[in-house]
């Protein structure tokens, strides 16, 4: 007859055995910790997946959380590579140096921030100053009629302004380019991911949103963006992002602590190689250097 306490003890022992059995297998395996930008996370995952075939002994653990999360992890020394869709701030670099890390920046690709519109929205082009009126604190455009269009299916023509949470690199970059030092207006809907922005704009005729080109779906309309109101506009594409003609395109970074050496260095040079760059192109971003895939 099994006494209750021995039942508990037995189940605990089984569990310990289970955990220990998971600890077996002693082959030489290096783990690269890779964390940060939600914009880059899907590319980072694709790189990690493909790299298994290149070097089976190096595995890459990928996590998202936002550029700020990745940079904080680099400062704390808990990652090998931080993904970021914005450059590190001087304050962050200083903080990292104080803790003995020397952040080295690697450009791994470019991303065009597309302005998403509902498929029924008749607006074709928008300029940076107009975007500032829509997104900025104290901006004067609150209705689609202010932009000279009537959106079918949009009650009262009120613009539903969609933005991102404030630790997102996408948020920081859009703010820098569109608003400069000004703040976003109150009442924007701040979503937690590029995919969420795409999905909400798809379903909301009144909406305007922004996110990377890679998250565009067939049901979205992309605005052609002009530097000045009335000026020539450029459509967001991989080509216009990499040649710099699209006004809201940004470099995508990977940061390492010090010059990458050994397996981290090999991984980064593979990412910058033709094979790695073709993967980022496949995911809808522009390559860091010209490649033909």
């Amino acid at each position: 007859m099994l006494k209750p306490n021995s039942v508990l003890l037995a189940s605990a022992l089984t569990a310990v055995a289970f955990l220990l059995s998971a600890c077996g297998g002693g082959q030489d395996r290096q783990v690269i910790q890779n964390k940060g930008s939600d914009t880059l996370v899907n590319v980072a995952q694709a790189w990690a997946e493909a790299y298994q075939k290149i070097d089976p002994n190096t595995v890459v653990a990928v996590s998202g959380g936002g550029s700020g999360t990745g940079i904080a992890a680099l400062i704390n020394g808990t990652v090998d590579i931080a993904n970021s869709s914005r450059a590190m701030k001087a304050k962050e670099v200083k903080l990292a140096k104080d803790r003995g890390h020397d952040p080295i920046r690697h450009v791994v690709g470019y991303d065009a921030l597309a302005v998403y519109l509902h498929a029924d929205n008749p607006l074709n082009e928008i300029s940076i100053p107009q975007l500032a009126e829509v997104y900025g604190d104290g901006g004067s455009f609150t209705k689609w009629t202010d932009l000279g269009v009537e959106v079918p299916g949009c009650k009262n023509q009120e613009i539903v302004v969609i933005s991102r949470q404030n630790n997102s690199g996408t948020y920081a970059y859009f703010r820098k380019v569109i608003l400069g030092i000004d703040d976003f207006r109150l009442g924007t809907r701040d979503l937690h991911g590029s995919k969420d922005v795409a999905e909400l704009v798809e379903k909301t005729p009144c909406a305007i949103g922004y996110s990377g080109l890679a998250y565009v779906t067939d049901h979205l309309k992309l605005a052609c963006v002009a530097q000045q109101t009335g000026g020539d506009c450029t459509s967001p594409t991989v080509a216009t992002a990499s040649n710099g003609s699209y006004p809201i395109a940004r470099p995508l970074f990977m940061y390492t602590s010090g010059e990458p050496e050994g397996y981290v260095g090999e991984y980064l040079s593979w990412i910058k190689s033709k094979q790695g760059q073709c993967i980022i192109v496949n995911k809808g971003y522009a390559p860091a250097s010209e490649v033909s895939c």
Binding site: P4, N5, L19, C23, G24, G25, A48, G64, K195
Partner: protein, 289 residues
């Protein structure tokens, strides 16, 4: 004998009305469960296959399987149970059997209740600061399991304490009168009679642990890991985080995959629970009172 007066009639019909009202409210409670389960089975079952359960994810996680996440969740749950059950049961035994009723004990009880009320994201940040950074466990299964254990400790303590207190005082007194020490009484009389209640706490903990996303996101679970964890200092994928990832982060994800992941997560919790439920029924069958 008695002629029902209009007052009796009115009271009777009111009684029927309220009985119906409360009954239908209770029936309403089942509705969400049925809707959730049937939606998951209807939309998720088609993707469940041997490959889905036991293969690595491929093609940007839109194809292949979820085995690393499945195994990861099992390891995290086991790790959390190993840490929290001994600690929680020991604390509950002290509080129920030994502790004098003074301000110190009452303070501890209030602390436990408050610990249960702490939002999981706060536990996550605590785990990040304490286990990942201060104890230098890194983001690992160990750190994530311990964070989950701290979070679920109140469940184990409260369930154990309740079940210890449900053992009649007369049992203890009879035992003491025979000259047994407190420990002998606990070991031979109180614990065996309380073990079913303790298992209820464990069941609740398993469900909570397997489903939590926030506490493991910062402490040990990753978006993608192309290998299975080899030890407690490795990171792991986990079903709950994977569900979040496939439903919000990956473009061009087939619509059925998130439902499939959710179905596997619920299925796993049900299987783990049914083991403890079976054990509990077996033990209850042997109960002598």
């Amino acid at each position: 004998m008695f002629q029902a007066t209009p007052v009796n009639h009115r009271n009777l019909s009111r009684q029927k009305l309220f009985r119906f009202l409360f009954g239908s409210m209770t029936a309403l409670l089942i509705l969400p469960v049925i809707i959730v389960l049937s939606t998951l089975i209807y939309k998720g079952a088609p993707v469940i296959s041997f490959e889905f359960l036991f293969a690595n994810p491929t093609n940007g996680m839109t194809a292949g399987g979820i085995f690393p996440a499945l195994l990861g969740t099992i390891l995290l749950v086991i790790g959390a149970l190993l840490a929290s059950v001994p600690l929680g049961v020991a604390a509950a035994i002290y509080l129920s059997e030994y502790a004098p009723n003074n301000w110190f004990t009452r303070a501890i009880n209030i602390a436990i209740i408050n610990l249960a009320g702490v939002p999981s994201i706060v536990h996550a940040l605590f785990g990040l600061g304490a286990f990942v950074i201060f104890f230098r466990f890194g983001t690992s299964i160990l750190a994530a399991s311990l964070t989950l254990a701290i979070m679920t400790l109140p469940i184990v303590i409260v369930a154990t304490r309740e079940s210890l207190q449900a053992v009649p005082m007369a049992f203890r007194e009879a035992c003491w009168n025979m000259g047994a020490t407190r420990w002998q009484t606990i070991r031979r009389i109180v614990l065996p009679n309380a073990v079913t209640g303790i298992l209820t706490g464990v069941i609740l903990e398993v469900s909570r642990t397997a489903g939590e996303t926030a506490p493991i996101m910062f402490t040990g679970a990753v978006f993608f890991l192309p290998f299975l964890p080899q030890g407690v200092f490795d990171q792991t994928m986990a079903l709950s985080l994977h569900l979040y990832v496939v439903s919000t982060q990956v473009p061009e994800m087939p619509a059925a995959v998130p439902y499939g992941v959710a179905l596997v997560l619920i299925g796993l919790v049900l299987i783990m629970n049914s083991v403890s439920i079976a054990l509990r029924m077996y033990l209850r069958g042997k109960k002598k009172w």
